[in-house]
Subunit: 358 residues, 2 copies
């Protein structure tokens, strides 16, 4: 087994070119070649250029294992997302990846399937592989994960939320405030009979915060949301449909349905149409995330837009700084945007609340 070797066009294999090959050809020591690569500043320009030429000529690429072993840096950061489905995190991850590769880092992506146990596993696997930093989604992660982070000291950042537990820094939006604003918008339209569809899982604090926002805004307006008016679901379209059916069966008078996710909202809209209900004339439905589909669906969905790309970039910058030992912010709060489309309108009945000033 000739481990490190590459096959030439004829199929025979020749040994991989290593740093001392370059050194020999260029008539310098391996140390100098290494310096050219890692600290170009400290080597005499002419010599540096000469070595550089040999490097490219021989198409030398440093062995990352050896490099990682000696330097303790893997030049790799990992992201653990709850799901790859529906492309919810795609935009962030792509931005993250772009920013990282600009700085010579590579991104590992793993997914936890909304399961804290798997998240912990993936985390351990990444750490064992000597990852330099980790980006997580959401702020609730189980005690074990937090102690793992503390013990190993790996830089970690949590995304999509504005604050996370256990001293882990975060970059994202204020989820509760966003749904509060959404709810107030609906109240302003005159709605009084609300329902909520939320995907509540222990690992999903984003939805929890969003639900809190709804409830707070409602109770401030003197409206109480009965437990049977909030339906729990997972993150699938099918569950959104089922949830809407149940909600409107139990509470036929409902005029506004707030979902904590676009996926749920789109499912709900489909079901509403199937039930013969016009959206938004009979029911208003809102989502959260502003995925691509949200604008394309019929009617276009009123939702909360999240600065996904900015979150990705921000997470990258944070980690790069943290790894370099530069000072980093505790957490970053980004603005969201309420985008009003056509899935919301004033309620049909005239028993509206008078418009109230915000």
């Amino acid at each position: 087994m000739d481990k490190k070797s590459i096959a030439d066009p004829k199929g025979r294999s020749r040994p991989r070119v290593k740093i001392e090959d370059v050194a020999r050809e260029a008539n310098v020591s391996p140390a100098t070649v290494s310096r050219v690569l890692n600290h170009p500043g400290i080597v005499r320009p002419e010599l540096r250029d000469k070595v550089m030429r040999f490097i490219t000529d021989l198409s030398y690429t440093p062995d990352s294992a050896a490099r990682a072993l000696k330097s303790g840096r893997m030049r790799t950061i990992g992201a653990i997302v709850p799901t790859l489905g529906l492309g919810i995190f795609a935009e962030s991850v792509e931005a993250l990846q772009n920013r990282l590769s600009e700085s010579g880092y590579t991104l590992f992506i793993a997914n936890s399937q909304y399961d804290q146990r798997r998240e912990l596993q993936e985390m351990q696997s990444l750490i064992e592989r000597g990852i330099d930093g980790i980006v997580l989604v959401g702020g609730s992660h189980g005690r074990e994960l937090r102690t793992l982070v503390e013990q190993t000291g790996v830089p970690v950042i949590t995304t999509y939320v504005s604050k996370a537990g256990g001293g882990i820094p975060a970059i994202g939006i204020d989820n509760e405030r966003a749904t509060r604003e959404m709810t107030e918008f609906l109240l302003g339209l005159g709605h009084v009979r609300f329902g909520a569809i939320a995907n509540i899982l222990p690992s999903n604090d984003r939805s929890r915060a969003r639900l809190d926002g709804i409830q707070r805004a409602l109770s401030e307006a003197g409206i109480r949301l009965e437990p049977s008016q909030v339906i729990r679901a997972d993150h699938s379209l099918a569950q959104g449909r089922k949830a809407l059916r149940q909600l409107l069966t139990d509470h036929p008078g409902t005029t506004a349905v707030i979902c904590t996710t676009d996926t749920l909202a789109i499912g709900a809209m489909t079901e509403a149409r199937k039930m013969g209900l016009n959206v938004p004339r009979a029911v208003s439905i809102t989502g959260f995330d502003d995925v691509e589909l949200a604008a394309q669906v019929d009617p276009p969905l009123t939702t909360i837009s999240i600065p996904a790309a900015e979150i990705g970039r921000g997470a990258a910058d944070y980690l790069i700084s943290a790894i370099a030992g530069r000072p980093v912010p505790k957490s970053v709060l980004l603005p969201y945007r309420l985008v009003v489309r056509s899935s919301t309108a004033s309620p049909p009945k005239a028993d509206r609340l008078p418009k109230r000033p915000r």
Copy 2:
């Protein structure tokens, strides 16, 4: 900079536990510890158990960089997908990941944004990092990538297609045959006026094969598809909408629209509704992929279902075998399934073709 160290609860850092620590505690040599980990069979059971106990007690995890350096194996495989958006590849990737982790491998995911240049870049980055195997999507990859594969000898497999160029093995379905069957199904329903919406990019041979299938089936039935009857698009919903509008403006008599992607089809359906056209009574629309959304949309979409999870698992098995030097199949052809839902029906006019036997 105390490179390999972990901070204890108080914040001080202590050195990482290494193989010789375990060896010392267990009163054996490092070599034995290594053997317990890598070739458990050749060490005396009692001793093995004893060493094992110390390993877990000290919670020792081998340094992957050192291990990779010495053994030449990274225990990591990479997947390069065109996009993370819309979750098209999510199911495959998740299956791939699950299967790999069963075998002690970790999965790197990268995305190329449907761009051959980026795909090549990512590939190089993976290879530099000493990846053990690579999963690609689709069969068209540019000459440079193919020579890179040949030169380095890294095991590579291509997915979602049944055959790839340049001797790269493949696992997937026969895309052309699938759309041919779809087209024949539509012909059987009596349609004669067709349109096609395809996302054609040089890097997307799947859509090309699918389009070929449509054209072949049609020409066998004596129907010619004018260039203006096939609309090019990228992979977004918005493009699907635009394409449908253009198609029906240029060819108002069209009764069947075949899309090479569910995304495009769903966009097309949305637009059709907006134009006041009933699907399927006025136009039949079909997709390809059978994403989750396809069944949930209104009307549910007639499409081709792909065995995504099986593709992922198969790719994992292939790579694991190839890395171990075991014999591997040239390529694997998996079955697709035509799933008929409610977005298709016989054309409105009576000028149908007589039903023909397949």
